[in-house]
Amino acid sequence: MIGQVFQITLLSLRNLPSRLGSSSVIVVGIGGVVGVLVAILAMAKGFEASMSRAGQPDRAIVMRGGSTSELSSGMGPGEMAVVGSWSEVTAASGELYLVADVPKRSNQSLANLAIRGVEQDAFEIRPEISIVEGRSFVTGRTEMIAGRGAVAEFEGVETGSTIELRNSTWTIVGMFEADGSVYESEVWADLATAQSIFRREGGVSSMRVRLASPDAADVLSQRMEDDPRLDLTLTGEDEYFKSQSQQLTTLIETFGYGVAAIMAVGAIFAALNTMYTAVSARTVEIATLRALGFGGMPVVASVVIEALLLALLGGAVGAAVAYFGFNGWTVSTLGGSFSQVAFDFAVTPELLVFGIVWAVGLGLVGGMFPAVRAARLPITTALRGE
């Protein structure tokens, strides 16, 4: 049986050059589906990765009770003092989170640039932050440092330039990286200066705290709940960013699967048409083999294998196009806090494998029906070429 499958498949493949045009329809059709699917999912994966990279298990964000993002949160100095005094908190930074309209490099349209006023502890809490160009801001000066993603996406935030915000001129004195995380989409300034310029004296949006251990988060949450002076919630940083990215990630993935599904229907019809044509062109040949004693199953298997091989080729082409065309491509979108988040498309090995699996699935469906027809057609009818 396996020998028959091998022999008939070999014959089919040797026949391929005479059907190059129709066979390429499968390759192109399925390649397109896989390319689009992988590219869109790479966008979701990149966004998710950018958000999740910012979260660490020993870091937490403290916000006003009921707030779902830093933009809608607010805390006073009293609350900051209480949280900062707890022994489980080894470092704390009160942070002011704002957005400002700044033109995008791509089309000059105004988009929300995230501005974060931070205390010096912010750098200790986030050791991944590194100045890669220029220097850090000086306390008390209207200076800012910009993340690499913000520099890539926005006009006027490159090192050495100045930017007008709230009737004040800010100088960008350096650029930082943050391991590719969402922080790279922000510009940072000294907290006190930002509070003054943006008229938020004494108030912050949230606090970033480093915990003595990840388990301390539960202890502190319970303490906040029990303390009547505090209307705060503490959320692990990784959990916070996960919730921030979840909605958009789900939206992108749903869109990706939707587009891929529509394209897949077209690709399946293309594959069906191609394989029906291939089988039809070889009706007499297949019937002759069956007359000589080759079984129906090897015929089915050979047609399916041919479709699968063409689909695999298409999948590989689509995956390659997605990888070389999109992997690492930096784009930005509106994140959970109404600010632009810059991120890179991430065409991961898992996505490539997933795309190939889709291709195989499409090839299987596209090859199965013509294969079964070829095997079930009465030999006497097929020998007449009908």
Binding site: G3, Q7, L11, R14, V284, E285, L292, G293, I379
Partner: protein, 226 residues
């Protein structure tokens, strides 16, 4: 004991609501070593009868016994295996695989055996030599004349050494001279190699090469001539 024995064989097809009777009440015995020509007008059921004997189709009624095997007892898979061992087919349009050379085409039935690759090729080469095409082994069908292609098809039919050759209009696509060569070849296979040959033909001159001629008309045997 006849090599082929048909008892009250009938075959009908359904075309939409209409039932078309192709064969009706066929009783036929064909002795081993016979060279039988089946003649008759178009639609008389010649090819259908040949297909039943070759195990390519099943009768609606009656039994077909070939080489002691009742074909109705075999499953589809079993019938395919039986055909590969017992029947050599020769078709009007040769039915060679265009991507394979003559040797590979002849080798095809042997792929269903346990023979080694070397032995398969040796047997295929021998079959090609028998039909006079030993020097054309590497030629693809497109590089051969019609007569040569039919010789390759005959080599393919005999390579597994079946007892019975069923030939459907084997000279129908050939000129007279080439047709005579093919018919002579079938005669040699019948007389010198002991093959039983059953041949469907429209051509009385082709039928003259047979030792027996059967006439079919409207699905029934109407005459049996020696």
């Amino acid at each position: 004991m006849p090599i082929v024995s048909l008892k009250e064989v009938a075959k009908s097809y359904r075309k939409g609501r209409e039932v078309i009777d192709v064969l009706d009440g066929i009783d036929l015995d064909i002795e081993e070593g016979d060279f039988l020509a089946l003649m008759g007008p178009s639609g008389s059921g010649k090819t259908t009868l040949l297909n039943l004997i070759g195990g390519l189709d099943n009768p609606t009624e009656g039994s077909v016994v070939v080489g002691g095997q009742t074909l109705g007892d075999l499953s589809g898979k079993g019938l395919a295996r039986w055909r590969s061992r017992n029947i050599g087919f020769v078709f009007q349009f040769y039915n060679l695989l265009p991507v394979l050379n003559a040797l590979r085409n002849v080798e095809l039935p042997l792929l269903l055996t346990n023979l080694s690759g070397a032995q398969r090729r040796k047997n295929a080469q021998t079959a090609l030599t028998i039909v006079g095409l030993g020097d054309r082994a590497s030629h693809k069908p497109g590089e051969l004349s019609g007569g040569q292609q039919q010789r390759v098809a005959i080599a393919r039919a005999i390579v597994a050494d079946p007892a019975l050759l069923v030939c459907d209009e084997p000279t129908g696509d050939l000129d007279r001279e080439t047709a005579e060569e093919i018919l002579d070849l079938l005669g040699i296979l019948n007389r010198e190699h002991g093959k039983t040959v059953i041949m469907v033909t429209h051509d009385p001159k082709a039928a003259d090469h047979a030792s027996h001629i059967l006439h079919l008309d409207k699905g029934q045997l109407v005459e049996q001539a020696a």
